[in-house]
Amino acid sequence: MSTDAAGLGRGRAVGFVLPALVLIGVFLVFPALWTIYLGLTDYRLTGLEAAEPRVVGLDNYTAALGDERFRGSLWLTAQYVLGSAVIGQAGLGFSIAWVLRDRRGPVKRVTEGLVLLAWILPSSVVAFLWIALLDRDEGTLNALLHTPGLAWLLDHPMPSIIVFNVWRGTAFSMMLYGAALANVPPSHLETARLAGASTFQQLRDVVVPRIKGHVLTNLLLISLWTFNDFSAFQITAGGPEGRSEILPIYIYNVALSGGRLGFGAAISFLVLIINLVVAFVYLRLLRTRREDARREVAAP
C-alpha cells in the first residue's frame, strides 16, 4: 500500500505543509514558550522592572498558589463553567433541541432564530444590552418586576453573568444536539414507546447511548470556551470587589490594569495546564467510549 496517496512526493508535500507549520510556530508555539519565560520573571508594564526584568524562578507560581484572590477566582471559574456551560448551555441546548426535534414550521424557525441571534451578535453590543437590562437605576428588569433599585449586578454578580452566558452560548449546544438527535433512528424510539417506556426511559436508554459522543464533544468545546471567556468583563469587569472575577478577568486585571505582566504570564500558564487537563479527561472519556463501541460491534 502506497503511503503517498496524493502523489506529491516528499519535497512538495513539505512545501505544502511548511507555511502552516511556520505560522503555527510563530503565532502559537513561540508565544507559549515566551509566556513560560515571562512567568519566571518579575516583568512589569511600568517602572524599573519594565526596563530590566529579573528572573525570579518559581516565585510567581508560589505567590499565585498562596494568593486567596487567585484561589477565589479559580473557584468562581469552576462555578461559571459548571453553571453556565455544563448545566446551562448544554442542558438548555439539549432541551430546546429535544422539544423541537419533530417540529416544522414557524415556531421552530423563530425559536432557533432567536437563540442563534444571541450567539452571533457582537459581544460589546450584547454586553451593553445586558447592562441596560440589569442596571440598578434605569434597568429594564427592575421596571418589569417593579423592583426599583435592586442591584442585580452588585448583589448577585455570579448568577447574573452565568445567566448571561447561558443566554449567549446556548445556540451551539442546541445546533449540535439538534444534528445528533436527527441521527437517532425514529424506529428505535417508536419501539421503545410501544414497549411502554416513559420519556425519561427513552432518553436514558435510547437517545443518550446514541449521542454520547456528541455530548462529550460538546461539553469539551463549551467547557474550554467558557473557561477562557472574557465577555463577562464587559458587564461586571470582575466586580464588585472581585466577586465575579473569573480567571480570564483576573489575568487581565492583574497583568494589564495592575501592570504585573510576569505574574499574569505565570497565571496564564497555569490556566493553559488546567485547559489541557480538562481536554485530556474528555478525550479519555471519548476514547473509552469508542473502544466500548468497537467491542460491542466485534462481539457476536
Partner: protein
C-alpha cells in the same frame, strides 16, 4: 488551500502596515497629540481647545515658517486607569502619539520603564531654555520632575474640596455657607440631610471600582486630616491610628445609611455619583476642582447644572478635629495635576517639542481657559484670570496653601490600590481592625516590612 490564504492575508497585512508611516515624501510631517479627552464627553473643553485652537494655529504658524506640518488629535474618553494602560502599551511597543497627556503621578514609573525621557534628551537643549519655566512655580514644576530631571510640562494643578447642594441644605435646615470644622460636623450634616429625605447625604469615594479617585478624593485627604501622610520620612504609613481613624470615618458613613455603599462598587460608580449630584440626590460630595469646571459646568459639563453658581457651595475639607491635620492644620487637601510629555520614540522630536511648547505658551493657556475656572501652571496667566471665577480664587487662595502631594514614586500606584481595597472592605461591612490588618499585610508585601511605619 488554507496556507495559501494565510500567506495572502499576511502579505495584505504587511502591505497595509507600510501605509502608516509618518512622512509622506514631500517634506510634510505629521504630529499626533493624544489625551484622555473627547468632544462631547470626558474633558470636552480640552479636546475642543486642541482641535479648534491648537491645531489650526500651530499649522498656520509652521506654514508661515515654510514648513508643512499636519497635526492630528487622537481622542479617548475612558477611565484614567484604562487610558494609562493604553499609553503604557503604546510606548512599550515604541509607537504612539508624539505629544502625550499623562497624570503627573505616572511620570515616575514611566520614566523608570524608559517610556519617557527627559525633555532635553528628546528635544535638545532648547527644552531647558524654554521661556515658560520662569512662569511655573516650583511646586507645580515638580509634577513633571523625576529624579531631578524635567520629563514633562505641567498643565496646572488642582485641589480637593467638599461640594454641597445648597437647596438640599436649605431643606435640611443647614447653613447656606457651610464651613465644617471637624469630621463630626460632616456626619451631623449628613444626618440632618438624611432626616430631610436626601437619598445620598454624603458621597466620599471608596472601593477599587473608582480607582485613583478613591485615593485622591477620599482616603488621602482624610488621612491628611487625621494627621498622617501616606509616605513620610522614607516610610509608608501602615495600619496606624490615623489610618484606622480614616477607615472608621468611612465605616460611619457607609454602615449608618449616610452614604450608598453600592455606588462604590458599580463599574461606572464615579460617573453615576456625578449624575446623582447634578440631579440633586447627593448632599455632600468630596471632589476636585475638575468636578466644578468639567462635570457640573453649566454649558460643557458631562453632568451640567444650569444654576451651578447659585446652587452649589464648596468648603475646605476639615481635619478630624481642629488642628489635627498634617502640620497641625485645621483643613487639608490633596493636589495633583496633568502633564504633557514628548514621546521619546517620536520620528520628529524637534517639531514635536515646538508643538508641546506652543501648547504651553501663555497665549494657548489663556485660550484654553476661555473664561472657565482652572488653576493653570503659569503664574502670568493665573494673574490675569484669577478673580474671574470665585471657585478658582478659593482653590488658589485657600486650598493650595494647605494642600499636599502624592509621593512621586513608581510603587505608589500599588499602595494606592491597597488603600482602595481597605476602604472597600469597611464599606462592605468588614471591621476597621480587620481591614487595617489586611492593608498592613498587603503594604508589607508591596514595599517590604522594613519600609512600613505603624
Amino acid at each position: 488551500m488554507k496556507p495559501a490564504l494565510v500567506i495572502l492575508a499576511a502579505a495584505v497585512l504587511a502591505l497595509a502596515g507600510c501605509g502608516t508611516d509618518g512622512g509622506s515624501g514631500d517634506g510634510a510631517i505629521t504630529l499626533v497629540i493624544t489625551a484622555n479627552a473627547i468632544s462631547g464627553g470626558k474633558n470636552a473643553e480640552s479636546a475642543d481647545w486642541t482641535k479648534q485652537w491648537v491645531i489650526p494655529r500651530f499649522e498656520a504658524a509652521q506654514k508661515a515658517k515654510g514648513r508643512d506640518v499636519h497635526v492630528l488629535f487622537q481622542p479617548s474618553g475612558v477611565d484614567d486607569e484604562q487610558y494609562k494602560t493604553k499609553i503604557a502599551l503604546d510606548l512599550k511597543s515604541r509607537t504612539g502619539a508624539d505629544v502625550i497627556d499623562l497624570d503627573g503621578i505616572w511620570v515616575g514609573e514611566f520614566a523608570q520603564a524608559g517610556y519617557v525621557k527627559p525633555l532635553a534628551e528628546v528635544a535638545g537643549p532648547e527644552a531647558d531654555s524654554w521661556e515658560g519655566w520662569g512662569q511655573i512655580p516650583t511646586a507645580v514644576q515638580g509634577l513633571g520632575i523625576f529624579d531631578g530631571k524635567r520629563y514633562a510640562l505641567p498643565q496646572g494643578t488642582d485641589g480637593r474640596v467638599l461640594y454641597y447642594n445648597r437647596k438640599l441644605f436649605e431643606k435640611a435646615g443647614l447653613p447656606s455657607d457651610w464651613r465644617p470644622a471637624s469630621w463630626q460636623e460632616i456626619l451631623d450634616a449628613g444626618a440632618a440631610l438624611k432626616r430631610a429625605g436626601v437619598p445620598i447625604p454624603i458621597q466620599v469615594d471608596a472601593g477599587t471600582a473608582m480607582g485613583e479617585a478613591t485615593t485622591m478624593q477620599g482616603a488621602l485627604p482624610l488621612l491628611a486630616g487625621a494627621g498622617a501622610e501616606i509616605y513620610a520620612n522614607g516610610k509608608w504609613t501602615g495600619a496606624s491610628q490615623a489610618l484606622k481613624d480614616v477607615l472608621g470615618f468611612y465605616r460611619q458613613i457607609y454602615t449608618t445609611g449616610l452614604g450608598d455603599p453600592k455606588l462604590q462598587q458599580e463599574a461606572q460608580g464615579r460617573d453615576k455619583s456625578f449624575a446623582r449630584f447634578a440631579e440633586g440626590k447627593i448632599g455632600i460630595l468630596a471632589e476636585g476642582d475638575y468636578f466644578w469646571r468639567a462635570v457640573i459646568e453649566p454649558k460643557a459639563g458631562v453632568a451640567p447644572m444650569a444654576n451651578r453658581d447659585a446652587d452649589v457651595g464648596y468648603a475646605l475639607i476639615p481635619a478630624a478635629r481642629p488642628g489635627a491635620g498634617i502640620r497641625g492644620q485645621d483643613a487639608v487637601s490633596m493636589s495633583g495635576g496633568a502633564v504633557r510629555v514628548l514621546n521619546p520614540f517620536s520620528k520628529n522630536p524637534k517639531p514635536a517639542w515646538e508643538l508641546l511648547s506652543f501648547m504651553h505658551s501663555a497665549e494657548a493657556t489663556a485660550a484654553q481657559l476661555a473664561g472657565a475656572a482652572r488653576i493653570t501652571s503659569r503664574t502670568d496667566v493665573n494673574d490675569q484670570v484669577l478673580g474671574v471665577d470665585p471657585m478658582l480664587k478659593f482653590v488658589s487662595d485657600e486650598v493650595l496653601p494647605v494642600t499636599a502631594y502624592r509621593p512621586p514614586l513608581a510603587v505608589y500606584p500599588q499602595v494606592s490600590v491597597a488603600l482602595q481595597e481597605a476602604t472597600a472592605d469597611v464599606v462592605s461591612g468588614t471591621s476597621v481592625d480587620e481591614a487595617a490588618a489586611s492593608y498592613q499585610r498587603k503594604l508589607e508585601a508591596i514595599v517590604g516590612a522594613s519600609n512600613v511605619a505603624r
